[in-house]
């Protein structure tokens, strides 16, 4: 059979199995660099939490666990819908795929909406580590480290959410334009890989920042 003959790379058509594997591999190389990007933030977190365990536990109580939990559920659900979206694209179910990608984007926007609502409450309560930082608990200088890490980690995560939403919207548009087909679905798979990665980052942010107490 023809499938036993390996084609040279330059003869591969976009959307063939080999192509999906190559695309995914490239995405994983990029995601490895992203692991290191967020890795330094988590390392800084571990070092300072180890240094001031009591202060971190106390400062964590000022975060809104309810919004954090709902946002975690939104992100887990969005990973589920984007995974089903890739699956529907492979099956040639274009309408279903479009609907699932749209739900993914809506869940992502919902996450960002709640996140910014949460940020505005925290800034109102002077928990943003800027000029007007006014922490009501003990050891405000050390608590400032916790809130710096909180705003940088969740802020960088939110920025990745914006990119993810743009990425999924783009492949959704390409699906709508019928450019994406079951034989040419690599962009959908790669957008989903990025989306899942951002979800995994949040899976660690949520317990480490919100559930310390």
């Amino acid at each position: 059979m023809a499938q036993s003959v390996a084609k040279p790379v330059e003869h591969l058509e976009l959307g063939e199995r080999e192509d999906i594997e190559l695309n995914s591999l490239g995405m994983w190389v990029y995601l490895a660099s992203e692991i290191m990007f967020f890795g330094v933030l988590f390392t800084a977190y571990i070092v300072y939490r180890h240094a001031y365990p009591q202060v971190f536990a106390e400062a964590s109580k000022f975060l809104d666990t309810r919004i954090g939990s709902i946002n975690t559920l939104l992100l887990l659900s969005s990973s589920f819908t984007v995974a089903l979206g890739v699956n529907a694209t492979q099956r040639g179910e274009r309408r279903l795929s479009l609907m699932l990608l749209a739900i993914t984007v809506i869940l992502g926007l919902g996450f960002l909406g709640l996140k910014f609502l949460e940020y505005s409450h925290e800034i109102e309560n002077n928990l943003f580590p800027g000029g007007s930082f006014n922490y009501p608990g003990t050891n405000p200088d050390q608590a400032k480290l916790f809130f710096s890490l909180y705003f940088v980690m969740t802020g960088m995560h939110a920025l990745h959410m914006v990119v993810g939403i743009a990425f999924v919207s783009t492949v959704g548009f390409l699906t709508w334009q019928q450019w994406i087909t079951p034989q040419r679905y690599a962009p959908v798979e790669l957008a989903a890989l990025f989306w899942h990665f951002v979800d995994i980052v949040w899976i660690f942010i949520f317990p480490l920042l919100y559930l310390v107490a």
Binding site: R17, W28, M36, L76, S77, A83, L84, P207
Partner: protein
């Protein structure tokens, strides 16, 4: 050779698993178990990340090469955190 199309039920089971683990981590955080709180929270987070990486990101069923790259990402992270902590955890008094 067409890529194998995964049955939708697998994604449903993984999603149910993720939601159950989320409920578990929130539930566990309501008890004061000392250092075990963090151990449980991190263990559950790793379990959730594994579910997402293996089944949503298709590491399960991917080529060996892709798996190596995914594992290397974790390996460098372990080096980063591990070597940093060999410093901070071994400083005696006012580090």
């Amino acid at each position: 050779m067409e890529p194998e199309i995964i049955p939708r039920s697998r994604y449903v089971f993984v999603y149910i698993g993720l939601v159950v683990l989320l409920a578990a981590t929130i539930f566990a955080s309501t008890f004061d178990l000392g250092v075990f709180n963090t151990a449980i929270a991190v263990t559950i987070a790793v379990a959730k990340a594994l579910l997402v990486a293996l089944f949503f990101m298709h590491i399960w069923g991917s080529t060996q090469l892709t798996r190596i790259f995914a594992v290397m990402g974790i390996f460098w992270l372990a080096l980063l955190i591990g070597l940093t902590l060999t410093d901070y955890l071994t400083r005696l008094g006012g580090g």
